[in-house]
C-alpha cells in the first residue's frame, strides 16, 4: 500500500483521504481509530476537569451508578453512561468485559484463569480487572481468535 503524506497550505484543514477498492473490517477499524484518536473524554476529579485521550484510559468502571475512567495512576469520573461509552468506542480497542467494566484491550498486559470460568486481566499499570465468562467470546473475537 502506498502512503502519501502532504503538508496542507496554511489555513487549510488537515484531512485524511483513503482510496481503496472496498472498505473491509481492518480499514473500518483504522478509520475508527483515526476518529477516536482525536476524540476526548471529559474527566472530572473534584473541581478539576481534564480532557482525556482514549489511549490513556485503562478501563471504565461503573460503581454505584457513577462511571469512572481509570488512567495509569489517576481516576476520573465521567458523565457518560457505560453503554454510551461502549457504543462510542465500539470499533476501537475498548471492549466490555463484565456488566460494570469496559477495558482498553491494548493496555492489557496479561490474562490469567480464575475459578468459575472467569479470567483476570492484569493491566500494564498492574491493576487487575475480572473478565466475566459471558464476555470471553467477544474478547477472543476482538483479538482475532476464531471461536471453536
Amino acid at each position: 500500500m502506498k502512503i502519501i503524506i502532504e503538508t496542507p497550505n496554511p489555513g487549510e484543514e488537515e484531512e485524511v483521504i483513503i482510496r481503496c477498492q472496498e472498505l473491509d473490517d481492518d480499514l473500518l477499524r483504522l478509520i475508527n481509530q483515526l476518529k477516536s484518536g482525536k476524540a476526548r473524554i471529559t474527566g472530572y476529579q473534584g473541581s478539576m476537569l481534564r480532557q482525556l485521550l482514549p489511549k490513556e484510559i485503562y478501563y471504565f468502571e461503573s460503581v454505584d451508578n457513577k462511571v469512572f475512567a481509570y488512567c495509569e495512576q489517576e481516576v476520573f469520573e465521567v458523565k457518560e453512561k457505560l453503554y454510551e461509552i461502549e457504543a462510542r468506542f465500539q470499533q476501537t480497542d475498548f471492549l466490555r468485559i463484565s456488566k460494570s467494566v469496559i477495558v482498553n484491550v491494548s493496555l492489557i498486559e496479561s490474562i490469567a484463569p480464575m475459578l468459575g470460568s472467569r479470567l483476570e486481566a492484569t493491566m500494564q499499570n498492574s491493576e487487575k480487572v475480572i473478565i466475566s465468562r459471558q464476555y470471553v467470546p467477544e474478547l477472543k473475537k476482538k483479538l482475532g481468535i476464531a471461536e471453536r
Binding site: 468459575g116 472467569r118 479470567l119
Partner: protein
C-alpha cells in the same frame, strides 16, 4: 443466547460428572439400585442444576470473600435440589447416611466441574495471551 450457551456448557459438565459418579458406584456396588430410568433422571437432574448454576453461580463478583459466599450458597442450593430429587428418584434413602452420600457426591461433581472449567479457562487465557503478545508486537 449466552444464557442458553452457559446452560448447555454446564449441562455437559454436570452430566459427565454424574455419569462418572454412577460408573464408580456401579463398579463398587454392582448394578444394584441403578435402573434404566436413571439414564433419564441423570439429564433431568443435570438440567435443573445447570439452570441453578447459571442463575446462582457468581460471575460478576469482585471480592474473593463475596465470591466464596456465593459459591457456598450455590453449593448448598445444589445439595438441597440433589437431596430432594435423589429421594424422589429413589437414588438415596431418606436418612442421614443417604443425605451425607448425596452431599459428598455433589462435592465430587462440583470438584470435577470446577476442574474442567478451570482447565477451559486456562486454555482460553493461554490463547488470549498469545494473541495479546502478537498484537503488542505488531504495534511496536
Amino acid at each position: 443466547m449466552n444464557f442458553i450457551k452457559d446452560i448447555l456448557k454446564f449441562f455437559t459438565f454436570i452430566t459427565t460428572g454424574m455419569v462418572i459418579l454412577f460408573i464408580i458406584i456401579l463398579l463398587i456396588h454392582g448394578d444394584d439400585g441403578i435402573y434404566l430410568s436413571t439414564l433419564i433422571e441423570i439429564p433431568c437432574m443435570a438440567l435443573v442444576t445447570s439452570v441453578l448454576t447459571v442463575l446462582l453461580y457468581p460471575s460478576e463478583v469482585r471480592s474473593k470473600a463475596a465470591y466464596l459466599v456465593r459459591v457456598l450458597v450455590h453449593y448448598l442450593a445444589l445439595c438441597v435440589v440433589m437431596v430432594v430429587c435423589g429421594i424422589l428418584f429413589g437414588w438415596i434413602d431418606f436418612n442421614v447416611q443417604g443425605i451425607l452420600f448425596m452431599v459428598v457426591s455433589v462435592a465430587a461433581i462440583y470438584g470435577f466441574t470446577f476442574g474442567v472449567a478451570y482447565l477451559t479457562s486456562k486454555n482460553d487465557a493461554d490463547a488470549l495471551n498469545r494473541a495479546l503478545k502478537e498484537k503488542q508486537n505488531s504495534q511496536k
